[in-house]
């Protein structure tokens, strides 16, 4: 019954909701970002981060630091927090938390398969995988020659198995097929996650529907823009769009035939939530589109914390931490390349 979660939620989810709200208060503030943006070197960034929750993860790193090291250690913190919550969670929250990591799992599968196609060492590829997306037998992916083998040898025993039904072929894997496989898997994952949240019902369904619909719409726009000028046909492009979201189905029909960024803009401006995003951009510009989408996403994720007794706070916290790590990565790159004037091009303030 929607509205009566307060009676029973805290029995199984109260402790973890309190934990995640405590973690949320540890997110970096605008003052922290202002200090970080004024750093001259990566060691200065490390010094400023030592006063935050990232301190214990960076304190033992020797100089000279590298930007990938900072990102790696900050990601480790997120992984530790996630694992603590997962081991404390009961059903259905544990399944919900696992769903959050399937996106990283898909990215890791594609990384291993692509790297193997390019004759890279498997160990080197495993080091580059996201820790949230690791699973047993991931290294066995390197032996597969086509998608059918990929499914039969490895993925049949993973949570991604149900998502392969739409993309199993015997064609040999190449760069374009792998990209289509990635997007097809992600589409199937998003739709499955959406159905799961709908089944949970209540405030979780309401809040997660909004967040996942925004994710699906953003992916549709990114697929459209990235496929402009490539060999991807309109039909193939349409097949990669998810079957839910504000743009489904009429927005997808228009996006499928767009040939340049201005046509995409014309299509998106018909939808009021996205009109505000595209109004920040000048005609023909795509550089600031990512930042505009991230800002809108952060706004929606922060709103998820305004309501209690739902699982959306866990999803929102994970996404906000990932955004924070992206911010730290961008600041580190600008400092390392001595381009501090460009630091505000991509930093999205959370609070």
């Amino acid at each position: 019954m929607y509205g009566f979660e307060a009676m029973t939620f805290n029995i199984h989810g109260g402790y973890l909701e309190a934990i995640v709200r405590g973690h949320r208060s540890g997110l970096l503030t605008a003052a922290d970002y202002n200090n970080l943006c004024q750093c001259e070197t990566l060691d200065d960034i490390k010094m400023h981060l030592s006063a935050t929750e990232y301190g214990p993860y960076l304190q033992n790193e020797p100089s000279p630091l590298h930007t990938t090291t900072i990102v790696e250690k900050c990601t480790l913190k997120l992984v530790d927090e996630y694992k603590h919550m997962l081991c404390q969670a009961t059903e259905p929250l544990s399944t919900f938390l696992e769903y959050i990591t399937y996106g990283h799992m898909i990215d890791n599968v594609v990384l291993i398969v692509t790297g193997t196609l390019h004759e890279r060492d498997v160990q080197e590829l495993l080091e580059k995988c996201h820790p949230l997306g690791m699973f047993d037998s991931i290294a066995t992916l390197a032996v597969a020659q086509n998608m059918r083998e990929l499914y039969r040898l490895v993925l049949v025993d993973t949570p991604l198995a149900p998502y392969f039904s739409e993309c199993i072929t015997s064609e040999d894997l190449d760069d374009m097929n792998i990209e289509i496989m990635r997007n097809t898997l992600y589409k199937a994952y998003l739709e499955d996650f959406y159905r799961f949240c709908q089944k949970l019902g209540g405030a979780t369904a309401e809040i997660m529907s909004d967040l996942l619909a925004f994710e699906a719409d953003r992916r549709a726009v990114n697929i459209t823009i990235n496929s402009i000028g490539t060999e991807l046909t309109r039909d193939d492009r349409r097949k990669l769009y998810s079957s839910f979201g504000l743009l489904y189905p009429y927005g997808h029909e228009e996006l499928a035939v767009c040939e340049d960024i201005d046509q995409v803009r014309g299509c998106m401006e018909k939808y009021p939530p996205y009109q505000s995003i595209f109004s920040k951009l000048s005609y023909g510009e795509t550089q600031m589109l990512d930042k505009a989408f991230y800002e809108e996403e952060v706004k929606r994720l922060c709103l998820a914390f305004e309501q209690q007794f739902h699982y959306g706070v866990f999803f929102a916290y994970m996404r906000l931490r990932e955004q924070e790590i992206r911010n730290l990565m961008w600041i580190s790159e600008c400092v390392a390349q001595n381009q501090k004037s460009r630091v505000h091009d991509s930093v999205v303030f959370i609070f």
Partner: protein, 301 residues
């Protein structure tokens, strides 16, 4: 360190100082302003030229020679300044002195004047090539900074796992860009290296030869068949180039961000700039050799 000594010597001789000021004010004489920039330090460009000269022991030795000449012949220096500020360049002073002090050598005047003008021309070419070299270095630095930032922006947008060195293709494949080095003979003994970049090998060619980035050649081939419009040939060429660029980005995935494409274009421009820098450096070294030879020949006289 050489400039203060030169200035001190000139202060001792007020006549030469006033003549030098007149020479420096002459706007039409580019040589005068160039030589002034060599010996005084008002502008950043001249600072670069000075730093280049300070770093170059050959030019330092040339300056020391001219300085020692100034110590020995103060009045004669002012007379040479009266003739024209050309004498304030890398040229040796005895040549101009001989024109003034020894009237009996007027029979050699024509030969000396030809050598004089050749030396000036080579000196100008040398200074022009230095200027071009420094400008290209600056442009390269800016282009590379832009490219690296765009690459970081693409990594930020697409994710660390999608833009990383772990995805670079280690399979054996043909080069997409070729550098051709030719030797051009400037004189009987002088040879200059010339570098030409040939970008984007076409996968449709059997021998893997690169697409010539020279649209006049394509126009020439087509003209034999009858005259299709050159604009269409240019459009096809651009389309082929775009196809090759997209193909090289496939290692990062089939659907990459526009930021990664922009980074690719920046690095491509940087490669073009590097080849231009190599050509400019080759020209610079060649003209410097000519100037040095002429100065040594003048010294021997």
């Amino acid at each position: 360190m050489e400039e203060p000594k030169l200035q001190n010597l000139e202060e001792d001789d007020p006549k030469s100082q006033s003549l030098e000021e007149q020479a420096n004010k002459a706007p039409s004489l580019k040589e005068g302003s160039m030589s002034q920039s060599l010996e005084e330090d008002p502008t950043p460009q001249s600072l670069k030229l000075q730093s280049l000269e300070k770093g170059d022991p050959k030019s330092q030795s040339l300056k020391e020679d001219s300085k020692s000449q100034n110590v020995e012949e103060g009045d004669s220096k002012s007379q040479s300044l009266k003739e024209g500020p050309k004498s304030l360049s890398l040229e040796e002073n005895p040549k101009s002195l001989s024109l003034e002090e020894d009237p009996k050598s007027l029979s050699l005047e024509g030969r000396d004047k030809i050598a004089f003008s050749e030396l000036n021309e080579n000196s100008l070419q040398f200074l022009d090539s230095i200027d071009g070299y420094l400008t290209l270095l600056d442009s390269l630095s800016w282009t590379l900074r832009q490219g690296w930032l765009q690459l970081a922006s693409a990594r930020h947008s697409m994710g660390e796992s999608r833009v990383s060195s772990a995805l670079l293709d280690l399979k054996s494949h043909n080069a997409s860009t070729f550098l051709q080095v030719t030797q051009q003979s400037d004189t009987e003994t002088e040879q200059i290296h010339h570098f030409t970049l040939r970008k984007w090998a076409s996968s449709d060619n059997d021998n893997g030869a690169p697409l010539m980035n020279m649209s006049p050649q394509i126009r020439q081939r087509k003209d034999k068949d009858g005259s299709p419009p050159p604009l269409k040939a240019e459009t096809d060429h651009q389309h082929q180039l775009q196809k090759e660029r997209t193909k090289s980005l496939l290692m990062f995935g089939g659907l990459v961000s526009p930021k990664l494409r922009a980074a690719q274009l920046s690095f491509e421009s940087a490669l073009d700039a590097l080849v231009e820098i190599a050509n400019m450096r080759s020209l610079m070294l060649s003209t410097f050799d000519k100037v040095r030879e002429e100065l040594e020949a003048a010294k021997a006289k």
